[in-house]
Amino acid sequence: MVEIDKRWLYLVLFLAVFVPMLRPLGLPVDVGKWSSDVFKAVEALPPGSVVLLSTDFTPSAEGEVGATRDVIAKHLVSRGLKAVLVSFVPQGVRQADMVAAIYEAAGKRSGVDFVNLGYVPGGETGIAAFFADIKKTCPSDTKGVPVEQIPLLQGLDTIEGISLIIQFHTTVPGAHEYVRQLVPYGVPLAIVISTGAMATVTVYVQAGQAVGILGGLQAAAEYEKLTGFLGAATKAMDSQSMGYLVFISAIVLGNVFYFAGKRAASRSGAAGGKRI
């Protein structure tokens, strides 16, 4: 086995990710089926429809789904769709603030075009309570305006008034809890998820319980390409590809050295010599 100080490996990874940032390679981004499905679901909504954005992610996942959050917000604004923002994760409130900032930058009005209902504690129970009675669970928005005075929420008593839910899943509660609690309501769900957990939610798409998945930075770049709002995700694709190359090389080389070492050891053992 070849012994390499792991800090050299760290340096290789850093350079593989950093150098393409200085000298972009311009590698192409191909749009996949899942990103297309979510894009089509949003495009199919008539202007004025209300979308629920559940920003249930922490700053640790910003690098993965932050770009998706921004491009989705811009897409919703461009389509004239209204947004109800909520989070069932404490740190997700700041993420909802960032979506609200995109709406405000486009001249949209809080309470009319979007509303930020803040954090709802309780995990899955909080989700159930929110779906059953939005106004009772969130008596006011993050600016302290009572929900009775918010025009966007007039007539919106339960989750059934929402046309599409876009849920950002990187922690608990997440997509699994949403799918369980959406059973009585039948509102379409699109899942934005960190790639690490993507494999666990494909079951819902196949069973028709979710309209599509946007998994990680790659999906964000695909969505940016579909919408035309090119941003951070597209810029990161070159670095991402080079990073994967380093990991693939590490797996392959690690196995090559391992099996070569084993073969050398068994040969020297068969010859009766010392182990190297």
Binding site: K6, V29, Q91, D133, V203, S241, L245, F247, I251, G254
Partner: protein, 205 residues
């Protein structure tokens, strides 16, 4: 009664809420909805309790000069500033949002991002194709990485399709089996909890 009363309460509430999903009785729905709202408030109280408990632990560390107590001092200082700003100025207070955006968010993200390096080390030193199953695992991982980047299509135009197939068919089948099995386990664990066999949530039992 100190042990039995909470167990009886837990069972009654659990049965009422489960029944409400399957039996359309307005009284049950009203009770279930009200209880869910109660849990939202209780969870908020639990958040406060967790923070208070954590701070009590660090105050005791400082007062007893325990191991690494010096680090608890800046911890307590930022806690007081952060909670004071949030409690008196609201969660939109400039100090509150500044500390979250400039202290919490970057460190949280950096801690998470460090794992890339540890994972690389693991890939080089530990991921071994020692048998057919391990080889299948590693080959799938490599194919997924290639297919979800620009490298795969450069090698073969079917790479992205292959990756979508891996996620859609074998991965979905396996995860579905796991999900169904886990759900059966969840139901049996829930039954044990609701009938009082599992009392782990009553600390000190």
């Amino acid at each position: 009664m100190r042990r039995e009363a909470p167990l009886i309460l837990s069972s009654v509430i659990g049965i009422v809420v489960i029944l409400e999903a399957f039996v359309q009785v307005p009284l049950l729905t009203t009770i279930a909805k009200e209880l869910m709202d109660w849990v939202v408030i209780l969870s908020a109280a639990a958040l406060c309790l967790a923070s208070v408990h954590l701070m009590r632990t660090h105050i005791m560390k400082v007062s007893r000069r325990s191991s690494l107590w010096l680090y608890s001092v800046p911890l307590l200082v930022v806690f007081i500033v952060m909670s004071g700003a949030g409690l008196f100025g609201g969660t939109k207070a400039p100090v509150f949002t500044w500390l979250f955006d400039r202290v919490y968010a970057p460190v949280d993200a950096s801690l998470y991002g460090m794992y890339a390096f540890f994972l690389l080390s693991a890939c080089f030193r530990a991921f071994r194709a020692k048998n057919l199953l391990a080889t299948a695992l590693l080959v799938t991982g490599i194919v997924v990485m290639l297919g979800r980047s620009a490298l795969g299509p450069m090698l073969h135009h079917q790479f992205p399709t292959a990756v979508e197939w891996i996620f859609d068919i074998p991965n979905t089948a396996a995860n579905r089996g796991v999900l169904i099995g886990a759900t059966l386990g969840l139901m049996s664990a829930s039954f044990r909890l609701l009938v009082g066999i599992d009392r782990s949530y009553m600390a000190g039992e």
